[in-house]
Symmetry: D2
Subunit: 350 residues, 4 copies
């Protein structure tokens, strides 16, 4: 595949540039008979929409339209095409960057790969591309809900401020999708401070899968862990993925890390819900490292397309952090992985 399709049986192909007329996704392989409306998708899209207090002032309504695959309110089993028209495009903001490479962005590597690039708002490499992923994830969510599977993402850390509590009911009550209400003031203070400095920050997002049956995944190369890691690392700002105890397990003893098995289930969940590349029936817990977004207004050293040294200051409309808008994107990628696995043969289930 040429790189814009994800999944094997629940397949999603996305398309569209930041400053093109529209972007969208084709969701192929969604089972028939699922009720699906534009509102089902819109509610997820609204969670990643720009224009919030701490996010880019670009005003995109991000209204989704369903163009195929649904008949009388129900999926038919044929491809579901969704489209989101771009409305608030100001390509001129980006014209200074047509001839100079923004550090930390894909500008130069795209040019190295393709010979030239669409410089308007990052073109295809813009985070705007992830709107299509969220739309596709929303369709996966409807399918998984039928099977009692619930997937939730939330902010574990922002700019060095760490959540200590994990109260799911808090997540949608604050602008950071954080499960710990007590750290919200510190996060707000941090983000204001960084914004004032014209700088940016990153953080850690965790996604949890509840209700996943045991035995999902394929051994060897297509372990559920491998699929989750690949899916999450395909999000632009993500630079690390860990499952269960993850990197902290590297300093543990086997006797500490191993999950004792009891009649009630696994006594710890250091493994993060997978064993031997297959889901164990425990909650699947995966965390991603989100780098600070590269667009900052502080002057930076770079080169132009002719290889000459240059200085750049990025004044366009951009977020201070990929968090919180990246949270529904991480959720979407996990939704897509689990939906795809649920369609794979599962002989032990019969």
């Amino acid at each position: 595949m040429a790189g814009n399709t994800f999944g094997r049986l629940f397949c999603v192909t996305t398309w569209g540039e930041s400053h093109g007329p529209a972007l969208g996704a084709v969701i192929d392989g969604c089972p028939p008979g699922i009720t699906l409306t534009e509102e089902d998708i819109q509610s997820d899209l609204d969670r990643r929409k720009p224009g919030g207090r701490y996010t880019s002032p670009r005003r995109e309504p991000d209204r989704v339209e369903i163009l195929s695959g649904v008949f009388e309110g129900t999926t038919t089993g044929t491809p579901i095409s969704v489209i989101i028209y771009n409305r608030d495009i100001r390509s001129k903001d980006y014209s200074p960057f047509a001839k100079v490479y923004r550090p930390g962005h894909a500008d130069r590597t795209y040019e190295q790969k393709y010979g030239f690039r669409d410089w308007r708002g990052g073109g295809r490499s813009s985070a705007r591309e992830t709107a299509a992923r969220v739309a596709a994830g929303a369709v996966a969510r409807k399918f998984l809900k039928q099977h009692g599977i619930d997937i939730k993402g939330y902010t574990k850390a922002l700019g060095g401020v760490h959540a200590r509590k994990h109260d799911w009911s808090e997540i949608d009550q604050n602008p950071f999708f954080c499960p710990d209400s007590e750290c919200i003031p510190a996060m707000e203070a941090r983000i204001k401070e960084v914004k004032t400095a014209g700088d940016s920050i990153g953080g850690i997002v965790e996604v949890c899968v509840r209700g996943c049956p045991a035995g999902l995944g394929e051994p060897v190369f297509d372990k559920i862990d491998a699929q989750l890691a690949g899916a999450l690392m395909s999000i632009g700002a993500v630079k690390g993925v860990e499952i269960g105890a993850g990197f902290s397990s590297t300093a543990m003893l086997g006797s500490q890390h191993n999950d004792p098995i009891t009649a009630q289930g696994y006594a710890s969940n250091h493994a993060g819900g997978t064993l031997g590349g297959l889901s164990s029936g425990s909650d699947i817990v995966v965390r991603v490292a989100v780098k600070p977004i590269p667009s900052i207004s502080i002057p930076q050293q770079t080169v132009n397309v002719d290889g000459e040294s240059s200085t750049i200051e990025i004044k366009g409309r951009h977020d201070v952090s990929a968090i919180p808008r990246i949270v529904p994107v991480c959720e979407a990628m996990v939704l897509l992985v689990i939906a795809d696995l649920m369609l794979h043969p599962f002989p032990g289930a019969t």
Copy 2:
């Protein structure tokens, strides 16, 4: 694909159980005209062979045979089939585990997926499967060498002992594949202590790609980062993957993390050699978290196949740590990813 094939154009399919007659790999898509002998593969296999001082006492010569795809010492472009016969099988050691699940292993999840399992030495879920990956990686290495690409793995940490120096010339001079000779005594002490306790430890492995051209990878879902993360997380003991600054980038400011671009290249390499999912031409640096191996002789709580509580002590032949034997396996997975990407269309190169 059914889970035992990796890659799209440089495709590897592996097969074989720990205690079956043999295991092997079919490498399909390797370009023609590359000189390839069994010795080329053997030298990589020998690096992961059991029987070392700190590793399993299972005595496997791991002699590889090439059965196809090579004519008069040169690859032909047709599938290269390699086979390694198992010699030192003692399945009886495992018969106590036919009816009881080993914690931290795939025993129970395999049974949940497939309805039953080959309990001899872990069957397909045994780390022995990775011998086939290393053999395939050795073929990829020969191909990449033609393009001046050099890939090296090494131990960054073992049971809490961290390497501080990065001297590649040291790596093959010590049994831990560690680039810092000064920490070898501490690593040796740590591993002896843990072995005496009947316990196990994990650590951190880093793999570095030198000489990779810029522009490799596919944007969006098939970013080079995503492919590396998926590939490495498909190794049994790996619970986390990070690229460049990885998880440490989550507490950095954008102004710290961004790679300033100079006429000489990238001033830092926090990005780890990738930008926008494409290689930047800098060294690609990726690290994996290796969990402690689950087979320990300390008694553990578990259940048997009838769901009854049980206690287990694992006395079989096993390593104290997946490190160092996992190092060439990590290397192999990175070799396979880069070899596959090198065959993909690369329009900017023309």
Copy 3:
């Protein structure tokens, strides 16, 4: 993949129902740097457009819009999304068929696969889906033209009337895309006669590839012959595919059939441009059997959704034959196969 994506490196995903709001294609993997306008695509679409003298009276302008992947008139290497809005929808015409299965159509099998179906105009199984294929093929054509490859389809037989001459300059001069002007009157007479009877006819379409380099294809399962056959048989009305001498070779002797090789090339082209699954450098010649279209106004025996016997007369807007509108569709599928193969590694070319 879930069945609506074609190709591996030049990948096309299509979507849309006959009576939904729109249909379209995402073309992923098209190389960058190719000039591409909507007019380039429109000219191919116009050749399969309904509304001709011998075709369905449905009036669809079939105007294509490019939504992504093109910047300043040139492809960028990112997915090209094209959309065609449906205009002349009269779903009511089809409401009699909501509860009864049309013989020769997919009505009943779709219901058996998916549990229910979109009965409006055949939904996804409508030949209208092929407009998206033609649009994608037009993009492939632009890419192949850069390499001097020219692909042309034409009518070899219609309702038993066979073309005897092969004058390419005639093909676009008559409504049947027939390379033999002398048989046009007989074809016209035949189609009028059948139309008057409320019946339908089929025929034979041939596609020829000129300028294809030698060595394209992959041995064994992905032979160029296999890919062409799979591609062409994926068109609804096609029931047979043959290459070169095809079925007539079954009565030849080896000494008659073999292509003697001369310094100037192959003396005959009974092989149809392929040897051992690879292109030989001769013209690739492939023929398809097109069945009579199943929608006829003559009463037919069938059953309804409750399994009761019924009689059906199909009075909707439909063609008398899939020919000539299927000609550009066959061309498109061959264009997609060759474009995909041209992106595959081709070591002998270097």
Copy 4:
């Protein structure tokens, strides 16, 4: 994929050259819990074995060994590796062809693709490769038998002699796998006459699938027809594929061709068991055109590797016709297609 893997969920990868040490297949995705012995595979292999009265005098026992994926006589769900060692290799017979291209063979196109070739017995392009397909097909047969699906191939025509009757009980009673015992004498006479002349002949093979459930296949590009056509056309000697009435439908009227639907099923089966790319529940009937094998002892015109005109006489051990040995190969490819489809999601079945 690199061309030697077939299928998506029931995946088969084959490897091996005609004159290498061995050939084999890896069958990945076969469901667990199926009883499988080497004898199950051997019985199919014996049907395509060389050494019969009308076939190549090469004496290959073609003994298959199972190397993985079976535990205590039952498939485990992990890859099944099968190997067949080559015994009766006389590569010297082929040394005259190292520098000259055999007409009708892949000699020259392989060299054009790969830059050079393994000339011993055709290397990878030898029909010997199909032994691995037959072995894999035998595994698929065991799986399909569990679902009541029975697949049978037979000779419809040989060198112009056509079978008129279709008595399945005759098929295994004669050396041509022909369902019409009355035409055996004519076939024998024809093959002797051609053999005496040093020439070769082709014919037509039909494969029939009985007991296939309705609704198998994927609409649009992955129609069951398309998959069968691609699978069968991937066999070296096959130059045409047709389903149901096939090419004869091109001269029918719609009113003749359409399958009237009755409460008892389809009144005719002109469609050959598929409608809209999905199986209809009727017998699936597919026919392939087999060209005369290109190895003949009559002198032929050709060129050598330096492009100079030459004459060639092929005296090696070869069959007079690919029939009957191709019959189990055709069967195998249909077995693999149906096995793969049976593992795909099938929502209407629930």
